[in-house]
Amino acid sequence: MRSVATEPPPPHPSPKHRRRSGLFIGAFLLLQFLAPLTYLTRNDAADDRFTWRTFSPPSGPACETSASLETFDGRREELALHKMIHRDWVDYVGRNRRVVVEAFLRKQCEAEGVLEVELTNHCEDDSRIREYRLRCGGERSHETTRTAAR
């Protein structure tokens, strides 16, 4: 005859098991409480990951982006971003996402003979122009913000 008996429930945890579980619970909860608070210390206001500020995918770009590089022989070349990276990355750059801007500038510096890379965001919402300039070999790009001429 087929058995249809119920299996016993899992045993109650021992004091030792409870202590270990308690440590895990504490660490897990601490991580969850602290992760969103790091937003308050971030330099990049566009970076709201792990904060529960929004559950929607990132919106479209707020700025129109152009980029150029200067070579050691003094030539200046315009860069066609859409031909170089995926449009989602272009959108990130257009939202002034600092970590992506930095990575893009550093990537352009990998090419031979590049002296400096510049990226400009013309932002419509606050009528500002943000410029990021990286001298190849440097650690971090220099950012300048100015109001667009009307």
Partner: protein, 375 residues
């Protein structure tokens, strides 16, 4: 027992953790196939990537890598939902899923991070069979499940921060705050026989349902959260009755009946399981997406690891059912791909992007495949 100990280690209706694991794993699988895979073509384009964490360094995930990770995670997740979950498999699902979004900022959807936290909790859930979670009587089996309480508190923290940011922005925040409070007390409902508690709890569950109903997003996030709210707040008796009905075959027909002929059956199970593990990933050959074959083959290897010693030490059919669940996962992937626009979307977006970059040969190949899968 101290109040805090009672809060974390007190009894809950086992039908809840049982159903939650299966619901989230099933959602994860179909969410990956229908919403994530179609966007996979953008990975690795132009050799550019920025990961969520610096630990990835200069690693650039390609489209086959991303789809492979998704295939591995989703097929393993569904196989765990179909048959009794295994802790190692759940840990692999959690790691695979987390790798999938952490490797690139291209996936910056907030709820993927939440699903990773949930999967982390699942690893410590009691690994329940249908027979342990549902009884023949009307009384739902109860037991200690601290990871389930952690799951509820994790959800409460999420709503707390939603309310906090809303308050900071000067927007109404009472609804997410009610959701947060509701999840904090949700796990205590199964320990009380008080009529007031039993009546109040389902009403508290209306808060998260209303919240997600009123703030729809394009993603499947509201479906996840409404489903979770139903399983956490519905009266235990309802979950028990529904679960008992749905798991009737698993509790009665799929169990091992006898221990006779141990040696002969053990060898049959051994060879059948091995054959199944080898042939299950073959199904993925029909999916025709880069990386999926490798992902499914890795799932079979992971399943072999999960079955482990059971494969040759037990006369029971448990290894065989695990292989059947793997088959189920691979078949579901194939059927989903064949009946949806996921493949068409993948190849079409890849073709558009290749055209933009001036790679017209790749674009032509992608377009040809997109045409093949147009629905």
């Amino acid at each position: 027992m101290k109040p805090l100990t009672r809060y974390w280690f007190g009894d809950v209706a086992l039908a809840r953790p049982y159903s939650l694991v299966r619901f989230v794993l099933t959602m994860l699988a179909f969410d990956s196939w229908l919403n994530l895979m179609p966007h996979g073509a953008k990975y690795g384009v132009g050799g550019f990537n920025v990961a969520h964490f610096p630990v990835f360094g200069d690693f650039i995930p390609s489209a086959p890598f991303y789809l492979g990770v998704l295939a591995f995670t989703s097929v393993l997740a569904l196989s765990q939902a179909l048959y009794r979950p295994h802790r190692i498999a759940l840990a692999l699902v959690a790691m695979g899923y987390t790798l999938g979004w952490t490797c690139s900022l291209l996936d910056s959807v907030a709820y993927h991070y939440l699903v990773s936290l949930y999967l982390g909790c699942f690893v410590f859930f009691p690994m329940l069979s249908a027979r342990a979670a549902f009884s023949r009587s009307d009384r739902a089996p109860r037991g200690s499940a601290w990871a389930y309480v952690l799951f509820c508190v994790t959800t409460a923290i999420v709503y707390f921060y939603v309310a906090a940011w809303d308050a900071a922005d000067g927007e109404p925040y009472w609804l997410p705050m009610v959701c947060s409070g509701a999840y904090l007390v949700a796990s205590m409902q199964d320990r009380s026989d008080s009529t007031a508690v039993l009546v109040t709890m389902p009403f508290l569950g209306v808060a998260p349902i209303a919240f997600h109903w009123l703030t729809p997003t394009e993603s499947w996030f509201p479906i996840y959260m409404i489903g979770i709210a139903v399983l956490v707040f519905a009266p235990a008796r309802w979950i028990h009755v529904a679960g008992r009905t749905l798991t009737f075959p698993a509790r009665n027909w799929l169990q091992d009946q006898s221990e006779v002929g141990i040696d002969e059956r053990a060898s049959q199970v051994f060879y059948a399981s091995l054959a199944g593990l080898v042939t299950a990933p073959v199904v993925s050959m029909f999916v025709d997406l880069p990386g999926v074959k490798t992902g499914c083959a890795l799932t079979a290897i992971a399943m072999l690891f999960v079955i482990g010693r059971q494969l040759y030490l037990t006369p029971k059919r448990r290894p065989l059912w695990r292989v059947v669940s793997l088959f189920g996962g691979c078949l579901a992937l194939w059927i989903t791909m064949a009946t949806s626009t996921a493949r068409f979307d993948y190849y079409r977006s890849g073709a558009i992007d290749a055209d933009l970059r001036g790679d017209h040969d790749a674009a032509a190949l992608m377009r040809e495949k997109a045409e093949r899968y147009r629905r």
